[in-house]
């Protein structure tokens, strides 16, 4: 039996939403899918949870590129990582890092102009080769996605309830009455008050936080093994963000799905992730356990990034650390290590600017794509970074080898 039966006895777990208790046993009500029990679309494309013992999701050498007006964009380059059962993997990166493209590739949601190579193995089965029909049995059922902007991800002309019902109905044969019950239970589970009433409302009648929660409800309707959350809280206010993250955590406790959390916010990741992968310019920069990444980063980018964050829990009187330069163009990526133009460490000519750094393992769980990973990890921040440069006007004398920083 795949469904977890737990009844929440901790009143604090439901936060301040009193309506949640009604939905605690929602999953008891849903019959298992894939057991041949009234499930029509039981195309066993992938092995069941019980029969597969490898990593849940394994991405091997994934590369994605797009042709555009300005040239070929290499959005993702030879990316490899895995997601295991019941873990939360945080994928952290800034704009252009390729994190969203990766998630779209996993679900096969990339436009046709994309060229995708590599393998995406879900319980051993390569999703990249699958036909659309087969993919449809997996999407929404085994792998589900929560998008950033719930307003555009939800169809404005259908009620929220009907959209959740559609998600359920796509993979299960259920009577109408049962369907409504499930929808209401799901809405209650994600903490939406008056779920019965709300199910009949349209997305625009929901607030941002509620919409996001409705989307989460839709995504867990079939208890997916993997939930991909692509910047789920970026567009939300911080207090609403806390609510939504809270919901995600509770959901995970209950369903034991793995969550692939994609975000640029290191604070969010610090709170919920078990492991973190840092991406830069379409490649993997570093991957490791959360404590390893935050306390013993082994990549100059990670190190610089962490140091540049202002902390609101501390007094700061010095200037913030900054990483010079800006993320590279994905059309003309610098040769060798993509980060080398901004890296204070790349002083060895011929190495960083020519050779793609291998993934160096600094521990069995921690790897960094840097030629000097061990050194970087061991060094204190001050040793590998620059003294802060002066931004205010410096006279530019002709013949000066170092013009003022064209930096961001």
């Amino acid at each position: 039996m795949r469904w977890i039966r737990t009844r929440s006895t901790d009143p604090a777990a439901s936060g301040a939403d009193s309506a949640v208790t009604a939905g605690d046993d929602v999953f008891d009500a849903l019959p298992p899918t894939g057991d041949g029990d009234g499930a029509v679309l039981d195309i066993s494309v992938v092995p069941d949870r019980e029969t597969w013992h490898g990593p849940l999701l394994e991405v091997r050498d994934l590369s994605v590129s797009f042709k555009t007006d300005e040239g070929v964009v290499h959005a993702v380059d030879s990316l490899s990582f895995e997601v295991r059962d019941d873990e939360t993997l945080g994928i952290v990166g800034e704009s252009g890092s390729g994190k969203s493209v990766t998630s779209m590739a996993i679900l096969g949601l990339l436009p046709r102009t994309a060229t995708v190579t590599g393998e995406i193995l879900f319980r051993g089965r390569n999703l990249l080769g699958l036909r659309e029909k087969a993919l449809e049995t997996i999407r929404g059922r085994e792998i589900a996605m929560v998008f950033q902007d719930a307003l555009t991800a939800l169809n404005p002309v259908f009620t929220v309830g009907s959209q959740i019902a559609e998600a359920i109905g796509a993979h299960n044969e259920v009577s109408d009455a049962e369907m409504s019950e499930r929808v209401v239970e799901l809405l209650a589970l994600v903490g939406i008050p008056n779920p019965r009433e709300r199910a009949g409302q349209y997305p625009h009648e929901f607030s941002g936080g509620m919409r996001q929660r409705a989307m989460i409800a839709m995504s867990i309707a079939n208890e997916p093994a993997v939930l991909i959350a692509d910047e789920p809280t970026t567009a939300l206010d911080v207090t609403i963000q806390a609510q939504v993250l809270d919901v995600l955590e509770r959901i995970q406790d209950r369903t034991q799905s793995s969550i692939l959390l994609i975000t640029h916010d290191l604070g969010v990741v610090a709170g919920v992730a078990d492991r973190v992968m840092v991406m830069y310019a379409g490649r993997q920069a570093e991957i490791g356990l959360i404590e390893e990444i935050f306390y013993e980063p082994a990549h100059p980018y990670t190190k610089g990034l962490l140091a540049s964050l202002p902390r609101f829990d501390r007094r700061t009187s010095e200037r913030l650390h900054r990483i010079v330069g800006q993320p590279p163009s994905l059309i003309y990526r610098p040769p060798g290590c993509a980060f080398h133009p901004r890296c204070p460490r790349s002083e060895v000519p011929g190495l960083c600017n020519q050779h793609l750094p291998p993934l160096v393992e600094t521990s069995p769980t921690h790897a960094s794509a840097c030629h000097f990973a061990d050194d970087v990890q061991a060094a204190a921040l001050e040793e590998i970074v620059l003294p802060d440069d002066i931004l205010l006007s410096e006279p530019v004398t002709p013949g000066d080898d170092a013009p003022p920083e064209d930096a961001t």
Binding site: G15, A16, D17, E94, S95, P193, S207, G209, M210, D237, V238, T239, I240, Q241, A242, Q243, L245, D246, H264, D265, L266, G267, V268, V269, A270, G271, I290, E291, F294, G304, L305, L306, S308, L309, P310, R311, F312, D313, R315, T316, R319, L320, H321, R322, I323, V324, Q326, P327, D388, L391, L392, S393, E394, V396, P403, P404, E405, D406, A407, T408
Partner: protein, 354 residues
């Protein structure tokens, strides 16, 4: 509403009247609806906000969406006309000032916007963008280009790029162009409306540093509006927290963050994730129920009462909290905390939320 006194920063007493004094600022928008476009409601975006900004000082204004902070910023610069209240710049009330006098004062106070894409005219070169203030006010007619290049250097851009268009720059660089434009006429006050929110994290630090250095070098005062509490703490001297059109708490930066007294401030701070796993997982999170009420119909008395966890706690403990619904709490000096820390709450209680 009580007039807020300038809070001394670092022990230095303010010299003379504050650069900017905002008193009882109110901004309401009419909601029209129906066939005949009658007024069906009012959005009370800002409802009685008062604060001072001294020279060389940074006042940070934080809050979530809908709290009115951006509207406040625009009202200060008269980009929106306040419904009532006064905005005194060096003693001169800008509200109701004649067009010509207002225009003459504009060079002294400028604004930097949030969106580095939309805040620059895509059809104008950098030079045109930065020199437009000169053209409008007829300054630097002789050495305009030199001045433009100087400004570019000042904000960390290469002067050779004067003839480029905005789309040829990255987000952080565009934001610097916006800063250069704002500095063109030597203002005394800069209103910064979420200046780094739209930038990548690794770029934000550079722009924040730039702003700090410019403040030191040019003696600017900042009205720094943002929702990112970490950045605000870093750059501000005094911080005001807004909720639904009102300031609910205001204190010197470190004081506010270490000893928040208003339940909303406390909830807000507890919700901000700290990029430090051990710290973050240990924290107690205050989750606010529901969504913020609509600014068209704010709750009576204390506007935060419908989501106030502290009130819930007090009620559970048997305290009578009907005053919360009946009487609006004024922003008052919170006695136990000393100089300059004000909170608008009937039952303020300091609580550490990291």
């Amino acid at each position: 509403m009580t007039i807020v006194e300038s809070s001394p920063v670092d022990g230095a007493a303010p010299a003379g009247p504050p650069l900017l004094r905002v008193t009882d600022l109110v901004k309401e928008f009419a909601l029209t609806g129906g066939l005949v476009r009658r007024r069906v409601g009012t959005v009370k975006a800002v409802s009685g906000v008062s604060f001072d900004v001294d020279r060389h000082q940074t006042l940070g204004v934080v809050g979530e969406s809908g709290c009115g902070k951006s509207t406040t910023g625009r009202c200060v610069l008269q980009l929106l006309t306040p419904t009532s209240g006064s905005v005194e710049f060096e003693g001169v009330d800008l509200v109701g000032l004649g067009n010509r006098e207002l225009r003459a004062l504009r060079p002294r106070m400028q604004i930097v916007f949030q969106d580095p894409f939309a805040s620059l005219n895509p059809r104008m070169t950098v030079e045109s963008i930065i020199s437009e203030p000169f053209r409008v006010h007829g300054r630097y007619k002789v050495d305009e280009r030199a001045r433009v290049k100087e400004l570019m250097r000042l904000v960390g851009l290469r002067p050779e790029h004067v003839n480029r268009y905005p789309h040829e720059f990255s987000g952080g660089q565009r934001q610097r162009i916006g800063v250069a434009r704002a500095l063109a006429l030597d203002p005394d006050l800069l209103v910064l409306d979420e200046p780094v929110s739209a930038l990548d994290v690794s770029i934000q630090a550079g722009v924040v540093n730039l702003l700090e250095e410019l403040q030191e070098a040019l003696g600017l005062a900042y009205l720094f509006i943002a929702h990112d509490l970490a950045v605000v703490r870093h750059i501000s001297d005094v911080v005001a927290v807004m909720y639904l059109g009102k300031i609910v708490e205001m204190a010197p930066s470190d004081e506010l963050y270490e000893n928040p007294a208003h339940p909303y401030t406390q909830a807000l701070m507890s919700a901000v994730p700290v990029p430090d796993p051990r710290v973050q997982r240990q924290r107690e999170r205050i989750i606010l129920p529901g969504d913020p009420p609509s600014p068209v119909d704010p709750p009576s008395g204390c506007r935060f009462r419908t989501r106030c966890w502290h009130r819930q706690e007090l009620q559970d403990a048997g305290t009578d909290t009907s005053i919360c619904a009946e009487q609006e709490p004024l922003l008052e000096i919170h006695s136990s905390r000393g100089i300059g820390h004000q909170a608008a709450c009937h039952f303020p209680e300091v609580r550490e939320v990291v």
